[in-house]
């Protein structure tokens, strides 16, 4: 019991550190030029920053429109209170926060359809739109350029015992309590399955979708979370300064938040708070120095450029990096040493002893009474005049290993991409146990039970092996979208059992905590297969699983594929024909986009046309 508690306590070190910091700040920092009001203001920025860091630091979505939600939360709260619609500040805060979240839902729905530059421009433009809406059409309610004065302070308790939370220390305490609660919540979100998936989206969006997660919906979730945090902070701002200023909506506000986050450190949660402290301290203290009064923002701007060019982690990021580096340096060096030994050709351990009986918790393959698992019906894909794949049909029997072979340019990869709807066919369709998968998109197809390991590794390079597999395993257990923000990502026992079984099967158990980018090439290939496998597919597509492997690794991987075939249907594209004839029960041969032959391994081996195709062209007349 005591051991469990100390472990639990250690995992809450950041929360404790924040708590100590919040208590110590009003005692220590006033000596360094921070007034209590300045600290309260820093906390207000830190509060928007918590949400923004989930959006930008965690999910990698750079929004320049957070002012819109800050403003909506602030003005809805202020209007409800000043107009007398609501008398309770708490209710008004709740209403403001929810309004900001609702607005975030609308803007986010449009914004998350686009990525990168587009996303940033769209958020910025909607931020400006909100600014102008506040300023003109709604100025009757918002006061336009004058804002809303006279916002009341919150009251604790009822009737005669009610305590008004006045300016100064009481207001600081209120903000500190709210910030702490919001921080604890944000940390839970980061550690939840949703947080894990958001981080994976930043690392490799396409792979997250291919594993079966509904990427736009998760991005939207992060967007709405950020909007809710901003709305709450906006509502509190009006109460704090008993005035709701229109510049809450300005582009400056959004930009300031971005700068503070970079200065303090993205993906640290407290980064924006620290960045805000630096920004506001510089503003208030440099202004006191004659001659420097106008230069404080210039100093900040130069520091910001230096940070973006060089120290990309920001203040907290560098501290956390230094801290974890110190703790994990030896482990990382050991992992890199193992990688070097493997890549130098040395056997660190007996290469994949295949004696264990791995019982993967996979679904039984036969879900219908049909024994055809996957069927391609007249699939075609034309790129302009080029017919990459032209009317290919074949059936994959349930529980078999089915190979697709053909010379370079035969259309194998395009065909494969159509099987899981990564590329949509020009005509034709794909049936999985008799039901159509074509037209549903790659992540729905993954949910139906088709997984693919890619020709080129598509890993999450900075995540550990275990976390890579967890993203995959979570997809099938939780479905395309589940907003379970309060559970920890590793708290699903079936998922963890699945990960352990797959790591054992792939001989990656000793590498569980090694970041994927440190792994040796062969290990990365196995992890690539393992991720597809961790989604518990009914049909597993392997795109050149043996590419780039040494002969001994090839043998081991072939054995692995046979193991996997006990529990699911496999379709494999591979150039190594020896391996294919050893593995596959049926073989489909493509040539110049068309189906050349389809039969058992022996039939294909004896097929004259296939031999011609491989040995120098179908129309060659000279004997091979």
């Amino acid at each position: 019991m005591s051991i469990a508690r100390s472990g639990g306590l250690r995992s809450h070190t950041p929360e404790l550190a924040i708590l100590v910091m919040l208590i110590a700040a009003p005692v220590v920092l006033p000596h360094l030029g921070f007034s209590i009001d300045l600290l309260t203001r820093v906390l207000n920025w830190g509060l928007i920053g918590l949400g923004f860091d989930i959006l930008f630091g965690l999910a990698g979505l750079l929004s320049f429109g957070q002012a819109a939600f800050y403003g909506v939360g602030g003005f809805v709260t202020a209007y409800l209170l000043v107009s007398g619609t609501l008398t309770s500040v708490w209710l008004a805060l709740a209403a403001g926060t929810i309004s900001a979240g609702a607005f975030g839902l609308v803007v986010g729905w449009l914004a998350v359809r686009r990525i990168g530059i587009y996303f940033t421009m769209i958020t910025l433009a909607f931020g400006q739109m909100a600014y102008f809406i506040e300023n003109s059409p709604l100025s009757h309610y918002t006061g336009g350029e004058n804002g809303i004065p006279g916002v009341p302070v919150p009251v604790l308790g009822f009737g005669e015992h009610a305590i008004r939370i006045g300016a100064g220390l009481p207001m600081y305490v209120l903000f500190a309590v709210i910030f702490f609660g919001a921080y604890v919540l944000a940390r839970r979100i980061v550690r939840s399955p949703v947080g894990a998936i958001l981080l994976a989206i930043k690392e490799n969006t396409a792979r997250v979708a291919m594993l079966g997660h509904n990427v736009p919906a998760y991005k939207l979730t992060a967007f709405v979370i950020a909007a809710l945090y901003a709305g709450l902070a906006g509502g509190l701002l009006g109460s704090f300064q008993s005035y709701m200023p229109p510049d809450a909506f300005s582009l400056e506000t959004s930009g300031q938040l971005v700068v503070q986050t970079i200065v303090g450190g993205a993906n640290t949660l407290v980064g924006p708070l620290v960045g805000a402290a630096v920004w506001l301290w510089l503003r208030d203290n440099l202004q006191l120095i004659p001659g420097l009064s106008t230069l404080w923002k210039l100093v900040l701007g130069i520091a910001f450029i230096v940070l973006v060019v060089g120290l990309r982690r920001g203040i907290c990021g560098e501290i956390i990096h230094w801290w974890t580096e110190r703790r994990t340096l030896s482990a990382r060096q050991a992992a890199e040493a193992v990688t070097e030994t493997i890549e130098a050709g040395g056997a660190v351990k007996p290469a994949l002893s295949r004696e264990r009986d791995a019982t993967l918790p996979l679904p039984s393959p036969a879900t219908g009474d049909s024994d055809i698992a996957l069927e391609a019906c007249a699939l075609a894909r034309h790129y302009g005049g080029l017919k990459a794949v032209d009317g290919v049909s074949f059936k994959v029997r349930c529980g078999s290993i089915h190979a697709v072979i053909g010379p370079n340019g035969a259309g194998k990869s395009t065909l494969f991409k159509m099987l899981l709807d990564e590329v949509s066919p020009t005509s034709g369709h794909v049936l999985l146990f008799g039901s159509q998968v074509t037209g549903h998109g790659v992540s729905r197809t993954a949910q139906f039970g088709i997984a693919k390991s890619n020709q080129l590794n598509q890993l999450f390079p900075n995540l550990s092996v275990r976390k890579n597999l967890r993203i995959a395993a979570l997809a099938r257990r939780r479905g395309p979208l589940r907003i379970d923000l309060l559970r920890t990502a590793d708290s699903l026992p079936e998922v963890e059992a699945q990960i352990d079984a797959i790591m054992a099967l792939l001989d990656l158990a000793v590498r569980a905590d090694t970041p994927a980018h440190i792994l040796a090439y062969g290990e990365k290939r196995r992890l690539e297969i393992g991720m597809a496998l961790a989604t518990s597919p009914k049909v597993l597509l392997l795109d050149e699983p043996l590419a780039g492997m040494s002969p001994s690794e090839r043998a081991a991987t072939c054995a692995l594929i046979r193991d996997i075939a006990q529990t699911c249907t496999i379709v494999i594209v591979e150039h190594d024909l020896d391996a294919i004839f050893g593995l596959a029960e049926r073989i489909t041969v493509l040539y110049e986009g068309r189906l050349l032959a389809d039969g058992t391994a022996d039939e294909i081996r004896g097929n004259q046309q296939v031999q011609d195709a491989y040995l120098g062209g179908l129309h060659a007349h000279e004997p091979a």
Partner: protein, 291 residues
């Protein structure tokens, strides 16, 4: 319902604003299309241009000479920014590019503020642009008419550079497929430098030409930058014709809406963008795929 002369006057205002936005946005869009960098310092460079006109006018007393010297200044500034900072960001994520150009924007605006203070400055209308011109049924400020003509000429010039020179061919090829241009052995380094500088001169020129029409402040560029983002979303990222047509559409929307209800003029612009994002996300002239 506003009167016809008022509506016509607003249509001309829309043309003036629209041509200005077209110039600002084409600078933004060729940089984005060729270099792949969304230049968040664009608004600041607009302000720098306006201040350049302000300073040069004090020394030269000639608007045209001021503009010529100002262009030289913007060109040098563009070269310096590209060589010293931007070029190190071609291989980095879009987010980093946005952040560093945003930082450059802050520094430029604060430098301007440090030198000239935060108060609005006035740039006088050039002597040849004084007064108003009788256009049949309405009287319209002469300088704004000249502004439209000057910018139209500049855009034609930019068109000729982009579509009639070998460098323009490289730029347009770079927009289509930057990787392929590099493979063909064309020195992109020099092209990138030139394109960035041309983009900077374009937005600086826009700032100089617009300076007599508005109050010149360090922050004057922010709203233009936001509007030019809308323009290039409308026109399609990286598309020069898209920037011109999108700029004119945006200018007319802002101006004509304000003829009916001025409080909705800016809102309508962003509402249109939202609508377009739903119906045609690649923009009017854009093709799906790039960015």
């Amino acid at each position: 319902m506003p009167s016809w002369p008022a509506l016509a006057s607003q249509a001309f205002n829309g043309l003036a604003l629209g041509s200005l936005l077209a110039l600002v946005s084409s600078g933004l869009t060729i940089i984005l299309g060729t270099l792949g960098v969304l230049n968040f310092a664009h608004g600041a460079l607009f302000a720098v241009g306006a201040y350049a006109a302000f300073v040069m006018l004090q020394y030269t007393q000639s608007f045209l000479l001021a503009i010529a010297v100002g262009c030289g200044f913007m060109l040098v500034l563009g070269f310096l920014l590209e060589r010293l900072i931007i070029r190190f960001f071609y291989g980095r994520p879009h987010e980093d590019q946005i952040l560093v150009t945003y930082g450059i924007g802050i520094v430029l605006v604060e430098c301007v503020r440090a030198v000239f203070g935060g108060n609005a400055q006035r740039v006088p209308t050039p002597s040849w642009g004084q007064g108003a011109t009788q256009l049949g049924f309405l009287i319209y400020p002469t300088y704004r008419l000249q502004l439209i003509a000057i910018i139209a000429t500049l855009l034609v010039g930019l068109y000729l550079v982009l579509y009639r020179t070998s460098m323009g061919l490289v730029v347009r090829a770079g927009i289509e497929n930057p990787g392929m241009v590099g493979i063909l052995g064309i020195n992109l380094r020099r092209t990138f430098l030139l394109v960035f500088a041309i983009g900077v001169v374009a937005v600086g020129l826009a700032g100089m030409l617009y300076a007599p029409v508005v109050a010149v402040t360090p922050d004057m560029g922010a709203n233009f930058m936001a509007q030019s983002f809308v323009v290039i979303v409308l026109g399609g990222l990286g598309s020069f014709p898209g920037a011109v047509v999108g700029g004119l559409i945006a200018g007319e929307i802002v101006s004509l809406t304000s003829a009916f209800n001025s409080s909705y003029s800016e809102v309508m612009l962003y509402a249109l963008m939202a609508l377009l994002l739903v119906l045609r996300p690649q923009g009017l002239f854009g093709s799906e795929g790039r960015v």
